[in-house]
Assembly symmetry: C2
Homo-oligomer: 201 residues x 2
DNA sequence: CACCTGTGATGACGAATGTCACCGGTGCCG
DNA sequence: CGGCACCGGTGACATTCGTCATCACAGGTG
């Protein structure tokens, strides 16, 4: 019997996923969570074999949670479930020892199948996503450039970004210019869109 | 027995929703779709009592499909399922005779419950969403202003927006300026963010 | 009819943005 | 030690953006 932990923020989807897994004879859901920051403590109590984590969870990012989980409970394999296929996330996921990466667009039986294979020690990664990740590559942005672009997402003026990051407005413009050039955008809006789609923010 | 049609673009989620509904004794899923543009013809063939539609479907928008479905098959009640709670969508949904509006964050049993109530002729709408919709109100943007803002989402320059909409660049700037003022944004990025969150785009 | 709204456009003006050259400092690595 | 990447900053420049006044025209409405 494979013991499964599920973390997914939307109630209805979580319930549906549990229903889907309850149809499988060889697995049981031992924990369901809606927040990322409770994953580790719950896992320590319930000792799941596989943790199925959504990426964007309130409280703590699914990938960050995966990293902490690996530190505390390395025998628990992690399988990440994501809605959007952002290649950058796959790279980050592999860094924190995630064993499986499934897109929500995959066939329905992929989930149970993926859980079984991850539990058996295999790696499960969507081939299309691997191709996309190789094509996209790692983020070309420096940490600071990433900060600035992320701040710019909120639509605030350059001066306010500078204030928020404790930088000179002129420096912010330089970082923005660098970022725009690196990701190949025409202006900040374009750059933000490109970087977000790639999963670099 | 309530006959249900489900349209949801992500395979895994669709499968999970079907699994969830298969646990209910009094309903059966007679059709599952992943595209919006096949909803009407499938509904005509399968004669569902309730159509559960996601909002952002490829091919045809879920709300547009709801409108066409009401024209062709008025006895089929429609229940909209959405991930993000964008108040503007609720207003648009009510205009096309949608009977129920459920957010994916709702408790898992809400779906089956909602389907039953919609099938019985009731309206099912999340109270929080109603409050948000009343607070947000209808879109203050004219059709043209909406077009321009939507084009601006892609991060292209004003001149290119003008070319795409066959307008003078100066006119585009005027519409953008109007839109920014109306939604209360500081610049186009802010305006796009606000309008999108409200469901006005 | 006058009035209002939406559409489309022009010209002008100041502010914001994007690019560039260039500066100094830190820390890492061959 | 020299080279290199990242950080942080300055000044200058042309372009773009946001705002405003103003115009014209169509389609409704009182």
């Amino acid at each position: 019997m494979i013991r499964v932990l599920i973390a997914e923020d939307m109630h209805l989807i979580r319930g549906a996923l549990v229903a889907l897994l309850s149809l499988e004879e060889d697995m049981e859901v031992v924990a369901e969570l809606e927040r990322g920051d409770a994953i580790v403590e719950t896992a320590v109590l319930t000792r799941p074999d596989v943790a199925v984590l959504d990426i964007d969870l309130p409280g703590l990012d699914g990938l960050a949670a995966a990293g902490q989980l690996y530190d505390k409970l390395p025998e628990c394999r992690t399988l990440v479930l994501t809605g959007l296929s952002q290649p950058g996330h796959l790279l980050r996921a592999l860094k924190v020892h995630v064993r499986g990466f499934i897109v929500k667009d995959a066939p329905a039986d992929m989930l149970a199948d993926g859980i079984r294979r991850v539990a058996a020690g295999e790696r499960v990664i969507d081939p299309d996503l691997v191709a996309a990740a190789l094509e996209t590559g790692v983020s070309p942005l420096t940490p600071r450039e990433t900060d600035v672009l992320r701040a710019a997402e909120d639509g605030i003026a350059t001066d306010e970004i500078a204030a928020r990051l404790s930088l000179s407005p002129a420096t912010v413009r330089n970082y923005l210019s660098n970022g725009i050039t690196k990701v190949g955008g025409r202006n900040r809006i374009d750059a933000i869109r490109i970087a977000r789609n790639a999963g670099w923010l």
